[in-house]
């Protein structure tokens, strides 16, 4: 039997779920932002939980490796794949969302590899000296076996 609180919940859900997205013309994908959020979340591997990041001793002044040994290459590849997997799948094929526009910097400290992925829009035909986004920052802690342990939780 439908109880009172069930009914109230239904009213709440139906009203809020119907919030109209004020889109116009060709912008009208019709997708509610909430749906978009849920549906187009991480395109692949989920980011490690922040508790994993808390247990890492992140470097404060680490010089990048000039020569990459085998584990460093594994680490670089793992971090790069992690970054690419965070992009929506439909962007695959676009230069700005491919390995072509990424630069990988690797350092080693405390038995771990730390990999920063920089973005190079100029590799995709954009003029040097410009950035296509604010505050891009991707830093990963990777084991010598090439397992991504954590992404640094950065916000400016």
């Amino acid at each position: 039997m439908l109880k009172a609180y069930h009914f109230i919940s239904l009213v709440l859900l139906s009203v809020d779920g119907g919030t109209v997205a004020p889109q116009s013309g060709s912008l009208g994908s019709g997708a509610d932002a909430g749906i978009a959020d849920a549906g187009v979340a991480d395109a692949g591997i989920a980011a490690p939980p922040s508790s994993a990041a808390d247990s890492i001793r992140w470097p404060e002044n680490l010089r990048p490796l000039a020569t990459l040994d085998g584990p460093a290459v594994l680490a670089a590849n793992a971090a790069l794949q992690r970054v690419l997997s965070r992009f929506p799948k439909e962007y695959a094929g676009a230069c700005e969302y491919s390995a072509r526009s990424m630069e990988v910097v690797v350092g080693q400290e405390g038995g771990l590899y730390f990999v920063r992925i920089d973005r190079r829009a100029d590799r995709c035909g954009w003029a040097p000296g410009f950035n296509l986004e604010f505050d891009w920052f991707e830093l990963y802690a990777v084991s010598p076996e090439g397992r991504v342990l954590a992404r640094y939780p950065y916000m400016p």
Partner: protein
């Protein structure tokens, strides 16, 4: 879809109403109320919710927006931002009017997770810390702000400025963009990359490029009364919600900070972006002369 997820898009008013209707007090009353009173209650509740939650969108998520020519980086922002605190401003100046910029920067700081979103003990961002981007643009009639764009929830990541321009609900596309504004949820000053994000356009050869002046995505620049190009700017809302700091900078790296007491922008320094030479947990700040506080 959960109610909690939807409510991220609701205004504080709407959230308050929804929260209040969920209290046990109302349920207790319901159990003992007369039948016709329940009907009156439901009707009133529905009306209040419709009023409180209609047009309650606060921002757009990057992934739900169209792209110019299908290029993922060329996000098109809808406009104008339908926010009662962000005005459309009539002005015949060639520069973006502060009467619009300041309310927009303030409104950016008021968005969910936009300010004070770092743990004061660890310095780490909370999961809801969010960066939002907007574009300032001009229509044939007035100056406007685009809707804020953020990345997907649950991911700490930067926002994508609408490099594909704006689609205004009254004037359509091909409107000149004068620059982008964004917020820093953990209160830091401009980062090095921030200083080099300006409007994009399609060149005559069909190549996409970023330029240092106000321009529509079709390559048509905005001109001042003397027929000259108008420099683009970048804007930043940062600091704390109760003590915000607003910055703007031009392509030459000249950084200004808003002085609320004097109601004007004050020159701070000339800054040059720095590239990271070491691996650390932050982007290197720009090199500024004189040094920024």
């Amino acid at each position: 879809m959960s109610l909690a997820l939807d409510l991220q898009f609701a205004t504080p008013w709407c959230r308050l109403v929804v929260a209040s209707t969920s209290t046990g007090l109302i349920l207790d009353w319901w159990a003992t109320a007369e039948y016709h009173m329940r009907g009156v209650f439901l009707l009133t509740l529905t009306l209040i919710l419709v009023l409180a939650c209609t047009n309650s969108r606060l921002y757009f998520v990057d992934s739900e927006l169209p792209r110019l020519e299908g290029k993922p980086k060329l996000v098109i922002a809808p406009g104008p931002w339908e926010n009662k605190d962000v005005p459309m401003v009539y002005s015949d100046t060639s520069d973006v009017p502060d009467d619009m910029v300041l309310p927009a920067l303030k409104a950016l700081m008021d968005l969910p997770g936009a300010a004070d979103a770092c743990d004061s003990n660890t310095g780490r961002p909370r999961p809801d810390a969010t960066e939002y981007c907007v574009a300032f643009y001009r229509t044939p009639k007035d100056w406007r702000v685009s809707w804020p764009i953020r990345n997907m929830t649950g991911q700490l990541s930067s926002c994508n400025p609408p490099l594909g321009g704006v689609e205004d609900k009254d004037f359509g596309r091909d409107l000149p963009v004068f620059g982008f504004a964004h917020n820093h949820p953990c209160g830091t000053s401009m980062s090095s990359p921030d200083l080099r994000v300006f409007p994009a356009m399609k060149s005559g050869e069909g190549r996409w490029m970023m330029v240092e002046y106000a321009v529509a995505s079709n390559g048509k620049p905005a001109l001042d009364s003397r027929g000259q190009l108008i420099p683009a700017w970048g804007w930043l809302a940062t600091g704390h919600a109760d003590a915000p700091r607003y910055y703007k900078w031009n392509p030459a790296g000249e950084v200004f900070e808003w002085n609320e007491g004097k109601r004007g922008w004050e020159f701070q320094a000339t800054c040059t972006p720095q590239k990271p030479s070491i691996i650390t947990t932050m982007m290197p700040p720009p090199k500024c002369s004189p040094e920024l506080n």
